[in-house]
Symmetry: C2
């Protein structure tokens, strides 16, 4: 029987419910975080816990348990469930709302879910994105608002794409659930600095890449796409995933370029090393 966390207890998943008066159900107000296990080892655990509490603070949501307790409960959950290479999703709700618009005492739940591996072809041959003029609300907070991304799924599928690439005022920000990089003609990696969720994998890929490449975090303009030699996205399940097409624009020659392939290789070693030394 798979277990989950509800507030300060580990319970059976089928017993974990939230009351209909919760602000998340009434107004979509809540935060979350998500990370994966390598075997049974949480990857970038500390980073995700920190970002989760940062998101909660930004939305004035008080987590019913503190960092230490949350960490120890999650470790116990992982051990109990024993699901290798699975994902951990931490959600903090708005709590029972007195007026239907006010924040209450948030509920916490943590789901330990299997991760369906993404097709190997995506990593080997790259994926397509379609652009969409949009700015996420409070982009630096990992809120649960994914209305636009889910609404657009049929269109994304129809276009043979994996996801949306958001741009705003001529600037590329991010993908619905990942960060976006280009490799320019001088082999520099460029990714948006502002108006994006600061992905944990984004951070680690930047840190790792800096050993070998120049990395620029700055405004990234739509026009730069046409001149990009390569592009890729980073995320918990995407790791480093080549982007070969954006709308009708082929990136480079439409195949993963050497820098992206190099980063993919480095990433495997980097995470292994990270888990050993942290």
């Amino acid at each position: 029987m798979v277990k989950c966390i509800l507030n300060n207890k580990i319970v059976n998943c089928y017993e974990a419910f939230i009351h209909i008066s919760d602000l998340t159900l009434l107004r979509g107000y809540g935060v979350f975080d998500f990370f994966r296990l390598v075997g049974l080892e949480p990857l970038y655990f500390h980073d995700h816990i920190e970002r989760f509490f940062h998101s909660a603070d930004a939305l004035r949501l008080k987590c019913p348990v503190g960092r230490k307790k949350l960490i120890s409960m999650i470790l116990e959950l992982i051990e109990t469930n024993n699901i290798r290479n699975s994902g951990i999703r931490i959600v903090l709700t708005g709590g029972a709302s007195e007026t239907g618009y006010s924040i209450g005492d948030p509920s916490l739940f943590v789901i330990n879910e299997p991760i369906n591996p993404l097709p190997k072809d995506y990593f080997a041959n790259g994926i397509k994105l379609i652009t969409h003029e949009y700015s996420r609300d409070l982009p630096e907070v990992k809120s649960i608002n994914y209305l636009m991304g889910i609404y657009k799924l049929p269109e994304i599928k129809k276009m043979g794409a994996l996801d949306l690439l958001f741009h705003w005022n001529g600037k590329i920000s991010e993908v619905t659930r990942s960060n976006f990089f280009i490799v320019d003609k001088d082999d520099r990696l460029i990714t948006a600095r502002h108006g994006v969720l600061k992905g944990i994998n984004r951070k680690h890929v930047i840190s790792m890449a800096k050993e070998r490449y120049i990395v620029e975090e700055r405004d990234l303009y739509l026009e730069e796409l046409a001149g990009a030699k390569e592009a890729f996205i980073t995320g918990t399940t995407k790791k480093v995933m080549p982007v070969c097409q954006v709308d009708d624009i082929l990136i480079g020659n439409g195949k993963p370029g050497p820098t992206t392939v190099q980063l993919q290789k480095m990433y495997e070693g980097y995470t292994e090393e990270f888990l050993k030394t942290n």
Copy 2:
């Protein structure tokens, strides 16, 4: 014991819960509608039911009960609870999600909640709004996404305002939970046509006002605020509520103007007549 509806049953409110795998809890994906009772009589019932199903269709959410069954259950709920002048909130969730991002079989719940009457002073002396550059996602769908409005509550309160007035590309759209009108120098009523939720009270106020005033649904520009003689908002609980200040701009002389006061009077008669004849 107050009752509510959960899917196809009337149950005790304290028993009504949604499973943590629901897409509304994981991704803020869901729709709702809200109307009020005059005594025990639902106001603009048919309009709200139609809009609710329209919102559900737009987000590809299949309601577990059809229109007829929903209407008869809500009427039974109203009779059972017997809470005069209360509100009815209908919510349709995204359903249990297999992947954490896919739509499942939606859950329906209907809450019959007391409405705390807004201060009489708001109706008599008007309220203040503060502008915010923002466009709601899918504005014509009544989704549950109110992240921005709730996030901004402390700032709104600090500024002595009731709510946010959204504008985008120089155009005024709407207030977080109501529609916005100005009265121009020629006593015409002007309200945004595009990029707004088509409020049910907006519709009825327009229909009622047309008997006496010219009403224009068109692009409404921020610059027009300074020259407006009056402004007001419409909504289920706001009815017709004067707006006397937007940021630092006093509207007219900073007091409710004759047209708004006239519309408030007409609105009372209009709803009474509407309930008698519908």
